[in-house]
Symmetry: C2
């Protein structure tokens, strides 16, 4: 995919729905020339608000559809904008289940103008079924109380901190946003169900004994829609270490208004019990709480109280860094 | 798919690998004209051993590739036989991950002779992600210590017994063999991972309060390759009742020589804990043990001892019927 990017946010209903654009803007701002939003868009990744023409003038080579809606389909009324970007000379990339090329007008425009369409969520390789055979190298996986609670940001922050300390660590992307950031990976939720854990084994193969794969978690073992993906990823990843991620202002499971968020202490044992099938020594090394919607005082209190209650280092990876989790990893 | 069928077993290594052919021969013998095996085949479903020519003479309309190998690919050296069946005027059906039409010679032969190719494992519909919203109607799901331990046979036996008692019960197929038998269903392991539980919700929709969906389980929560499929199916099925299935002579998890079979008593709580996310009242109503490799005396002892130990009705569904499990269901 050619850089730089114009990030397209459509008219999504909330900030979380633009988490792909947000992730790219936060972790690879140097690749972005601006954002393009349709009327009624409730997300904002705070890049320059620009038109397709202005993006072209700034040299944008690819328009990234930076959204992740449940079900992964492309709203019909976005087609005009996508076609306009193609006509302005840009390639288009998306991470939805529906392929860009499945929209006839998009496919035709791309063919007519000789532009490329990238569907990063669609694995291009075949996988084997999982084997569960112990392998060398160390792996850390982030898991969550819910979807969209900072699992990717936590491993990206860990990668930055560990590399800063000279540790041998590598981010492994398992979702569309992570793949845009890492420029490789596997969208594990788009793999055929039989191959979830096999794909996770492929993504984090055997490695040097001191090498850490930092694997982006997906979904939640407590989410009625996605727990199967979470469990297959957990088994295939064979993690030595887990970090539990949480967003404390969430009132119910993402997309499921009737489903309560589990308590942090009720997540620990189920995750460990599941992980031990392929990684008997697995343990939690920390808790990652996204406190950006809390006041400084409330955040202080919550982090301290959670740390004391669970007996695990507890931090906000973005606001306060992940040093104390990496301290735990160095001791393992 | 037009009947009757010729069942093709290839040269699979063991009887379990031919479980699709076995299932059709056991539950729909009236649809089968015979079996065709290649040299070295270690499976036998005890139908007449016939050639393609003889199958044609007996009126076979479709050759069913009746195997289920791990990974789901079609061995290259089976192509000649498949092409010969097409040339003899038969359609071909298979339930592998690899589509029949992906093999160029098969696709060409089908096009040339105007024959149809059926890939029953490939869902033809789009699913939504799971919602986990409580729905009316009652559902039973079979779960297992391992893969291939009688989960499908148990629900088929339950359907027969319950209908015999005038109960409102329906088999719901979730795998290729079940789909061949029921002539509908969803191969849940071939669904895109994000939609496992959504597909299970689609398969067993809301129904009359006295209606039982008898849902074929898949994989095992304790199988390192397939637990994600099992969990998503469990959450989407929202089962009121579970039956635990087991094959007592199995030495290790299917396809994983290093992985031990869990004890029956260690399966109960993890399955219930997982099921309760979407079905808080879920309980086990019986244990189904495949005793066909045991002597009558050993089977007697094992069933009795298991029943006493777990406090649940325990039976071999084929050799001894499922009456005592249905008694439990009538009491629910």
């Amino acid at each position: 995919m050619e850089k730089p990017y114009l990030l397209f946010l459509g008219d999504v209903a909330d900030q979380l729905a633009a988490k792909t654009a947000q992730g790219i803007a936060d972790w690879r701002p140097e690749w972005c020339v601006g954002q393009l939003r349709l009327e009624g868009c409730n997300a904002d990744v705070r890049l320059d608000e620009i038109s397709i023409e202005e993006a072209s003038r700034r040299g944008a080579k690819t328009m990234v559809v930076g959204v992740a809606n449940s079900g992964g389909t492309l709203p019909e009324h976005w087609t005009d904008t996508i076609v306009a970007a193609i006509e302005a000379g840009m390639d288009v990339a998306a991470g939805l289940h529906q392929r860009l090329g499945e929209v006839p007008r998009v496919a035709e425009a791309a063919a007519r103008h000789g532009r490329k369409l990238f569907d990063v969520r669609h694995p291009s390789q075949r996988f084997q079924t999982g084997k569960g055979i112990p392998r060398t190298g160390k792996r850390l996986l982030t898991v969550g109380t819910d979807c969209s609670v900072g699992k990717k940001y936590t491993v990206l922050a860990l990668e930055r901190e560990m590399r800063g300390r000279g540790m041998n660590a590598e981010f492994r992307a398992t979702g569309q946003t992570g793949i845009f950031i890492a420029e490789r990976g596997v969208a594990i939720d788009a793999v055929v169900a039989d191959f979830i854990s096999g794909a996770a084994e492929w993504l984090s193969p055997e490695n040097e004994p001191d090498h850490w794969d930092l694997i982006e978690g997906q979904g939640s073992l407590f989410h009625a829609a996605f727990a199967g993906v979470t469990l297959g990823l957990l088994h295939g990843s064979q993690p030595r270490a887990l970090v539990l991620c949480h967003e404390p202002t969430r009132r119910h499971m993402r997309g499921l208004p009737h489903a309560p968020i589990p308590k942090l202490e009720d997540c620990i044992e189920p995750y460990l019990q599941a992980a031990r099938l392929t990684s008997p020594e697995c343990r939690f090394v920390g808790v990652s709480i996204d406190t950006h919607l809390l006041s400084r005082e409330d955040a202080d209190r919550l982090l301290k109280e959670t740390e004391d209650r669970l007996g695990l280092p507890c931090t906000d990876p973005i606001a306060r860094g992940v040093g104390k989790i990496v301290d735990q990893l160095e001791r393992l």
